[in-house]
């Protein structure tokens, strides 16, 4: 009898305990959800990488929202961590926020300038309405440089500022914009629909760091284990996306989450990986020189004044290192 009791005790000790998953609220702008820029998170969720790390990731979309609202969502407690484009983080940190980047999500973004079918050259954009993103962001900075290369200054066209590629694509389709800047996959879809591809942002700007996962330093210090789990899942997602054996599966995810054809999704992945354009990090690693490039672009656009801050002021890599990312 005593032996049976001992066995029973051993059984309970040895049996795996199904721990409650840790809820992690991840903030994203509406436009992010409707673009390829949510891909690392969507893949991690779909492939079970978050669950495998014991996380229950909730995607939280603040409305009204937008790239410039996501740090507010961190500060008012709406989200624990957030997706954000680098300039918005930099601006808020310089204004006193304790937010900091803990991982890279997208590098070297490729934005396309698409025009109505009758517009076949940059010169034909004079006096036309061009749909751009927030003037303080790298999308518009890079497209303005592209336009400048082709002889167009801001005085030569009418800028219509809209948040998110889906909104700008709608403007093009409704005929309210003569040209717009689009990310993936809507740029490939637009081209397939007959709109004219005039140029790519990468023709005008060097590589830079685009989107990040950010968190408040105070929250991160109190939740290090949760962050490390998140970063391990994110690393697994990047490795999955980059694995050529998973290319077809990733194309299906891009197709389903963005409501585009599989052919368009495959074209997007080909753009990223054939040849390798460094659009996606390998493991979530942060390239400080690419972040320094963002700071330089902001200064060039008049958004920052000298002395310019060092890139490492906006980054805390201890969590990436703890997650095994080199």
């Amino acid at each position: 009898m005593r032996r049976l009791a001992a066995i029973a005790v051993l059984f309970f000790v040895a049996a795996p305990v199904a721990a409650e998953p840790i809820t992690l609220r991840y903030g994203a702008a509406y436009s992010t959800l409707r673009s390829v820029y949510s891909l690392p998170i969507v893949v991690a969720e779909r492939e079970g990488f978050f669950r495998g790390e014991g996380l229950d990731l909730k995607m939280v979309v603040p409305i009204p929202g937008g790239s410039d609202q996501m740090i507010d969502a961190l500060h008012d407690g709406t989200v624990d961590i957030t997706h954000i484009a680098a300039p918005y983080l930099i601006r808020r940190v310089l204004a006193g926020s304790d937010a900091v980047a803990i991982a890279a999500e997208f590098n070297n973004p490729i934005y396309s300038l698409l025009a109505q079918p009758g517009i076949t050259s940059f010169g034909m954009l004079k006096g036309k309405r061009i749909g751009l993103a927030d003037r303080g962001g790298t999308i518009t900075m890079s497209i303005e440089k592209l336009l400048a290369i082709h002889g167009l200054t801001p005085a030569d066209y009418v800028a219509k500022i809209m948040e998110g590629t889906p909104a700008r694509f709608n403007c093009l389709k409704r005929g309210e914009c003569d040209a717009v800047v689009l990310g993936q996959p809507q740029d490939a879809a637009a081209e397939a629909e007959g709109f004219t591809l005039l140029g790519l942002s990468t023709d005008a700007v060097p590589a830079y760091l685009y989107t990040l996962t950010a968190v408040r330093r105070s929250w991160a210090e109190a939740n290090k284990d949760t962050l490390v789990r998140y970063l391990r899942a994110l690393r697994a997602s990047f490795q999955f996306i980059r694995d050529p054996q998973h290319r077809a599966a990733v194309a299906v995810i891009v197709s389903e989450t963005n409501n585009v054809s599989k052919a368009v999704a495959e074209k997007v992945l080909k753009l990223y990986f054939e040849p390798e354009r460094g659009v996606l990090p390998h493991e979530g690693e942060i390239d400080l020189s690419a972040l320094a490039q963002v700071i330089a672009m902001m200064a060039e656009a008049g958004a920052l004044k000298p002395p310019l801050p060092a890139a490492d002021r906006f980054v805390d890599q201890q969590y990436l290192h703890a997650a095994g990312v080199k």
């Binding site: 009204p64 809209m162 909104a167 409704r174």
Partner: protein, 119 residues
């Protein structure tokens, strides 16, 4: 089993976007939007400004705040039959929700939420 619900909801997340600063606005959204709207009041019927309103569907939550008249509005393509609305504000607890739109209607969906003082 893979969580296809997450992907499905993400794919359905198509709606108008606005931002408070920078003059960035697109109120058009896409065809098939589901509009959630309504009011948040206390148990005496007084409108509550600044209450958080969440519309949740599986792993995605849309969060907004009521205006000075206690009203909110969210444009999404979340299926209202698979969504759950809640409201909150510090110093209050949720008392209940009242869907005013008939069952089976897809959009707009009017749902009021009541908060009760106290925790």
């Amino acid at each position: 089993m893979r969580n296809y619900g997450f992907i499905l909801v993400a794919a359905l997340t198509l709606a108008g976007v606005s931002a408070k600063s920078g003059g960035i606005v697109d109120e058009h959204g896409d065809d098939g939007d589901t509009i959630f709207f309504g009011a948040v009041k206390d148990t005496r019927g007084v409108a509550i400004e600044g209450a958080h309103v969440n519309v949740k569907s599986r792993n995605i939550e849309f969060v907004t705040t009521t205006d000075a008249t206690g009203n909110y509005r969210l444009a999404t393509q979340i299926d209202p039959d698979q969504s759950e609305l809640s409201c909150s504000k510090q110093g209050y607890r949720q008392n209940g929700t009242m869907r005013r739109t008939a069952p089976g209607e897809k959009s707009p969906i009017e749902i009021d939420c009541t908060l009760q003082a106290g925790r």
